[in-house]
Symmetry: C2
Subunit: 178 residues, 2 copies
């Protein structure tokens, strides 16, 4: 490090962030099949070999970007009630995952070294909600994830149509009535 | 056709079957990452261009083989009760999908033109079970798939560990008590 104002690893982190940004921009602008390592490198202002050295190949880079995007920007919305918080979270999750970027994320992230990070992120979001209501009877995070997140994701990956909103509400009711 | 004993399309179907067999054998013998189109072609006794012409690329061929394997060999086991049939089917599905070939199938099949065929296959298996008990109150196939197949698949693709068998039984109970 030549300047004391930079954190250790700062340059490396900045290179990574510019590459991630380039991927996100390109995925918004054009079809995913036409996004290549040279295109990403040109947009990020690095050489293709920088990308190959760090990620190995395009699918590993896309998986890395997808995992980073899975990390939500905010805490789950606080509506004042357990049922309200879970319903709102579930509806938002269904919306986001069903969108075209969400679908791509779900596919890309499976190429990551740790796709299981997905369940960890979902679990920590749901735990945040549950912790707001210490005195209410409620399901555990494992069961809640199986009842709400799993059908949402399954229908996107392996079915004609996304999960129906009435079915989502029904699953929330089941989760809360156990 | 030169011999009248062959069905129309027989040659094409035989070529396809020998290529599918070659893929299945190679996937059992070696790591998936090391299976290539030239290897498959050599095993099947065709030229690589036969494969590229028909499937376009390796991932489309793997997806096609995975979809064909998804099709179960038999009807769901008949235990004499609705609860027994569904529990047995669910346990078998959990076992098969959690196995290494099952995991690969789930990943490969997403590259297929119609991964939604999965939900169709599952639905038809579950419908076969439900139709055996016309006079009992029971869930519909859509709800049953969401409660049982979805968490099984979700845990394989996006979690550290497969679905716990106790949780699977709990989900079956929920499905049958609606």
């Amino acid at each position: 490090m030549t300047t004391p104002t930079l954190r250790p690893g700062g340059r490396s982190a900045r290179v990574q962030e510019s590459i991630h940004s380039a991927v996100r921009e390109l995925l918004e602008e054009q079809d995913r099949a036409s996004v290549t390592v040279p295109l990403i490198a040109a947009r990020a202002g690095v050489t293709p070999s920088t990308i190959y050295r760090r990620w190995g190949d395009l699918s590993a880079l896309l998986a890395d970007v997808a995992l980073a995007r899975m990390q939500p920007d905010n805490e789950p919305i606080n509506t004042g009630s357990l049922r309200g918080d879970i319903t709102t979270w579930a509806e938002q999750y269904l919306d986001e995952m069903t969108s075209e970027p969400g679908r791509c994320m779900l596919r890309d992230v499976q190429a990551a070294l740790k796709p299981s990070y997905c369940a960890t992120i979902i679990g920590s979001q749901l735990q945040t909600i549950l912790d707001r209501y210490p005195d209410e009877p409620k399901p555990d995070v494992y069961h809640l994830t199986n009842l709400i997140a799993a059908p949402t994701v399954f229908r996107i990956l392996f079915s004609e149509a996304p999960l129906e909103i009435e079915e989502l509400h029904r699953l929330v009711e089941i989760a809360l009535s156990q």
